[in-house]
Symmetry: C2
Subunit: 501 residues, 2 copies
């Protein structure tokens, strides 16, 4: 390896370690930290963000990258090293456009905004969160302006999470989803009584849930020597290295799907991080290639596997034995129908597969309006409620069940929500390709053999990490670009069968 | 406030935040981290140690401190600011003597050595830990040589933990302790059957222990909004800010004192960190002034309060109700005698008040011999066993119960153990002064009123933080220098009464 590359890698690994440390502090804040620790924690994370950004964008790193680019001619263009130089250049150019003061300010603001949001949500008090949201919208406007964009501010923001994505493409994407999903959901709503969800409501001892879920995660390949699962208000997955990937969940003692499908979802994210090629560990390439592809993995395990018939062929008798009082007399098909029930919900994370994307459309539209100044923070709750009425036929009675439900904006993140819908679409594209490549897949799942699917995902989707851009990855793995078509056909078939055509 | 002081404080607070982040990573490693996470964690901590040391010893910080010293004339010499400049100069001069490469190497080595030690201890396999100990002794020799010393390498090391302490002073201190304690312990050993420890051995449900202990900690003033308690292999206290101070403990279901007195001990450390003047938060002055004074606080709550008659006058009926099967028919006086039983033990942390210091003498002597090359790492277990035979009349049958029992050396810490004996002595000096100032103290403790003692400690010992050096603090609070005399009299009286003269 040429010397300049060694020096660059050493430098980047230090930045990587600082970012990993910040992630540990964040995980601790969300799962362990005593409440009074927040002020100091905000300062600690702001310092890490500041130093990481300073080190990454320093003259020294710029020079090391330029030196490495100077010897790139002697590096195999298909190698990890070539990819590292390419991604480092892209990341560095972006980071350099952001002043360190803005990065530090965003970190400090969002640590505190997160607490303000949690308080506002708990007491249905949007006005106490509004000043933080104002500040976060303003900071994101600054970020978008600093990063630059051709067409709309949104382009600069979404590109941070989904390389190459633009608001123009998303407009078309969501228009197509809306056109199909609005009539489809309405048709299903009219047959609401075709599915009975009562089996999922009962008494489900939390410790029994935990043990059942840990068993499922282990079966699917989540290695508790390389990760852990904890309780948190907002479920998430975080990774400090390829050998320390953590997920969180929340339990509802009276509603089974909450922890069960939430855990499968976060496990899908975790398997991605755990499955990246070990040779990329500790480099810029060692994470998922985009949030859309990441979400495709979580939704694949949550919905395509976890809400599918084969999965429950394997697990249903076991979950009946775990909760005999609630499920003992429920037929497998009734359980399958219950976990796939479609109903208008106020809460995104509780939404079924069919209505989920409508929650995303709403957020995408509001984010654009906020960023472009067409909607004020003060008027945002009303706009939220009007869209809920329009898309799902019911407005939330409180802001807690409306605009305050999601953590994302308090984390300073705008432009992230669309990746959930991209992930939904990609999950089906990947899953159908896997089924085409693995003709025994449904039989394997029905027998609790998850390794063929998991290894297929690892080889095709996980292993490259950030070496392959999302657009290229989808094309390479499925032979097609991202397209809602396959996804919409899947929804029509699945829910047509459940609800009758 | 003069501008140069503002700039210095800003810089120092960033270094402080980096060090706090490293402490979070360390706490996580010891209480939460999945086993496979260790390699990446070692790198993360090494990066933080490196950057912290680089930032602290940089030309920029040197200049900021010089500028602040330039305006020190306009600062009240008794003010926090004057103390900050004084302590910053002392810390910076020390840190500057250590090359960053040595600091980084020590951090990386000890993260891994800690795992090696845990494995070696679990399997009684000293040879697998020996290479790590060799490396740690060598690194500490480099540290001592880099820091410099007049007389012996030990001086440079112990001064890191106890400002102003030297091996010459410690030699005299331990000689005096040995002269008194060796005959005293032997006399007590001969009357071993005067005290029956069997009430402490039984079945003590872990969850009941935890709830009882959390109640005691809360009563004593440990605020769970500003801290938490977790399980760990090795009990410790760590502080990320004055509002996030965490302690750990370990439970033995068959031996009550383990978690109970261990928790009181760590709580004593925590109350010190929680009690420093809030105006010092986030500065170099916001921690305890020395490890000896720190240990005086832990031993005070563990032994002077927790193993005293007044404390159990308040709590005994409650603990009887908590563990009726084991304690229901045990008289209060029998319980008091049991928790103060003196017996030769192999394990330091299980030692009674009388024999505890003999464990420290042993470690102090071995550390000196290792550092000065008079003892090889290979021969150390034998030397350990011989001293145990000599001081306590029994050699450990395994290294796990001998030289492998303590975590300290694996953490890279040599020169730390003497502070435990300094703390024992100081705990009695402070406690007797508190009793002189608070004539109702014993009645208060017997009634479960802990706030007078806690507030006395806060005002006199905790609040100044590092503003007052340990030697000056002892003189100021007690009117006397550190002296074993008061301590030895306390031991003779207490154990003379229990064992008969």
């Amino acid at each position: 390896m040429p010397d300049p590359l060694i020096a660059l890698k050493q430098r980047l690994s230090e930045v990587h370690n600082l970012n990993a440390a910040a992630s540990v502090l964040d995980w601790d804040q969300q799962t362990q930290m005593p409440t009074a620790g927040i002020a100091a924690r905000a300062e600690q994370k702001a310092t890490l963000a500041k130093i990481s950004h300073q080190m990454f964008t320093s003259q020294e790193t710029q020079q090391l990258l330029a030196d490495a680019e100077g010897v790139a001619g002697s590096v195999d263009p298909a190698s990890d090293d070539a990819a590292l130089i390419r991604i480092a250049r892209r990341d560095l150019d972006k980071a350099t456009k952001l002043p360190t003061s803005l990065v530090t300010e965003l970190s400090r603001t969002t640590s505190l905004a997160q607490e303000a949001w949690a308080g506002a949500r708990a007491s249905n008090d949007y006005p106490t969160f509004a000043p933080w949201l104002e500040k976060i919208v303003r900071l994101n406007q600054h970020i978008a302006d600093a990063l630059g964009y051709d067409d709309r501010r949104y382009d600069a923001l979404v590109d941070q999470y989904e390389t190459g994505m633009t608001a123009r493409v998303l407009d078309g994407f969501f228009t197509e989803l809306k056109r199909e999903l609005l009539p489809l959901t309405r048709a299903v709503f009219e047959r609401a009584d075709a599915v009975d969800a009562s089996p999922l409501h009962g008494v489900f001892d939390e410790e029994r849930q935990r043990l059942f879920i840990e068993g499922v995660l282990t079966d699917c390949g989540f290695d508790f020597q390389r990760g852990r699962q904890d309780r948190a208000v907002h479920p998430f997955c975080t990774s400090f290295s390829q050998n320390d990937v953590r997920i969180t969940t929340r339990y509802d003692r009276e509603f089974l799907p909450m922890a069960l499908f939430g855990s499968l979802h976060e496990m899908g994210h975790a398997l991605y991080e755990l499955g990246v090629d070990p040779s990329l560990e500790g480099t810029l390439l060692s994470n998922g290639t985009s949030l859309g592809v990441h979400e495709s993995q979580s939704r694949l395990w949550e919905n395509l596997v976890g809400r599918g018939r084969p999965f429950w062929k394997h697990y249903y008798s076991r979950i009946q034995e775990t909760f005999p009082a609630s499920l003992g007399s429920v037929a497998p098909e009734a359980f399958y129908r219950a976990i796939n029930r479609v109903a208008p919900t106020l809460i995104r994370v509780e939404a079924d597969e069919l209505t989920y994307n409508l929650h995303i459309v709403l957020r995408y539209e509001l984010e654009n309006e906020l960023l472009e100044g067409r909607l004020s923070v003060a008027d945002a709750p009303e706009a939220w409620n009007a869209k809920m009425e329009n898309y799902l036929g019911q407005a939330p009675p409180t802001d807690t069940e409306g605009i305050l439900q999601d953590v994302h904006w308090s984390l300073g993140i705008l432009g992230y929500f669309p990746t959930y819908s991209l992930g939904n679409v990609l999950s089906v594209q990947f899953f159908e390709q896997a089924r085409a490549d693995l003709p025994q897949m449904d039989d394997d799942l029905a027998a609790g053999r998850f390794s063929p699917l998991r290894e297929w995902l690892r080889e095709n989707v996980h292993r490259p990490g950030r070496k392959i851009d999302p657009i290229d990855l989808v094309q390479k793995v499925t032979g097609n670009p991202l397209t809602p078509e396959v996804y919409l056909r899947y929804l029509r078939t699945k829910f047509g069968e459940i609800y009758g055509r």
